[in-house]
């Protein structure tokens, strides 16, 4: 995304849900991929040819923090900073997280992951409820007067 040079204050609230089925693995196995740095290194990262890790920490317990920051080849630095609020082993994870781009906070979100059995495999339901801050730039076609309703509409359509 492109970040406007002058800060324009705005908040867009949004909700989206993504579901995935993973064949031949248990819900506990999927959960485990969230529960350790070894697991998260396998998927919660950017392609290594485009991105270098600056910091990666994970304290996987209620009240614990997770940080992941990296520098893209373009020079852009992104930071993910999460706090865990609910952990039910094999079943559910709830954390809040903020995202920063080049030091600028672009969103604060609540992320919920539900791990469910599905046939011989597992189903993952991820829901993100977010406040998206100050950040967007839609190449000059924005319609400021309708921002509020457009945000609500998008949230509805995405939901």
């Amino acid at each position: 995304m492109s970040i406007p040079t002058a800060t324009k204050r705005s908040v867009a609230h949004g909700v989206f849900t993504i579901e995935r089925s993973y064949a031949s693995v248990t819900p506990q196995r999927v959960f485990d991929a969230f529960a350790s740095i070894e697991g998260k290194n396998g998927w919660f990262t950017a392609p290594s040819d485009r991105w270098d890790v600056i910091e990666r920490t994970l304290d996987f317990r209620v009240g614990g923090r997770e940080r992941l920051s990296g520098r893209w080849k373009s020079g852009m630095v992104t930071e993910f900073d999460a706090t865990y609020f609910d952990i039910v082993p094999g079943e559910r994870i709830v954390y809040t997280y903020e995202m920063r781009v080049d030091g600028r906070k672009i969103s604060v979100s609540l992320a919920t992951f539900e791990f469910k059995p599905s046939g011989a495999g597992a189903r993952l339901v991820m829901t993100e409820q977010g406040a998206f801050l100050d950040g967007y730039d839609d190449n000059g076609s924005r319609q400021r007067g309708s921002r509020e309703i457009v945000d609500k509409l998008s949230a509805y359509l995405e939901g």
């Binding site: 196995r29 999927v30 993100e128």
Partner: protein
């Protein structure tokens, strides 16, 4: 109509009806003709055209008539900013959860030691 003059009351009114929300949802996937829009609803064409007129008044939907066919689309200017924002975050998670699937296929029994 000046682009900044979208009336929020009209917009809320337009979206207060399930048929019109369904039409917006359909149009968010791409342009459609009036008869395509009408197809899921057991309504007369005039009733559909009336719903469409409210959506057009609200500024959410534009339509143009070419020959005998009226084609409707979401006003891209009205939707682009928030759509772009949410779609981007969602796409990030889509990619991550795809990578998670590949990771689980490689290591179905547990994390690599």
């Amino acid at each position: 109509m000046p682009t900044l003059a979208v009336d929020l009351d009209l917009t809320f009114q337009a979206l207060a009806d399930p048929t019109r929300r369904g039409m917006v949802e359909r149009l968010s996937r791409g342009p459609a003709t009036v008869s395509e829009l009408a197809q899921p609803y057991g309504m007369s064409l005039p009733a559909i055209v009336q719903h469409l007129a409210m959506l057009e008044d609200s500024g959410l939907v534009r339509s143009e008539k070419v020959g005998r066919v009226r084609t409707c689309r979401i006003d891209p200017a009205a939707l682009s900013l928030a759509e772009q924002w949410f779609n981007q975050r969602r796409a990030e998670w889509d990619r991550r959860l795809d990578r998670l699937g590949e990771h689980l296929q490689r290591f179905p029994d547990g994390e690599p030691q």
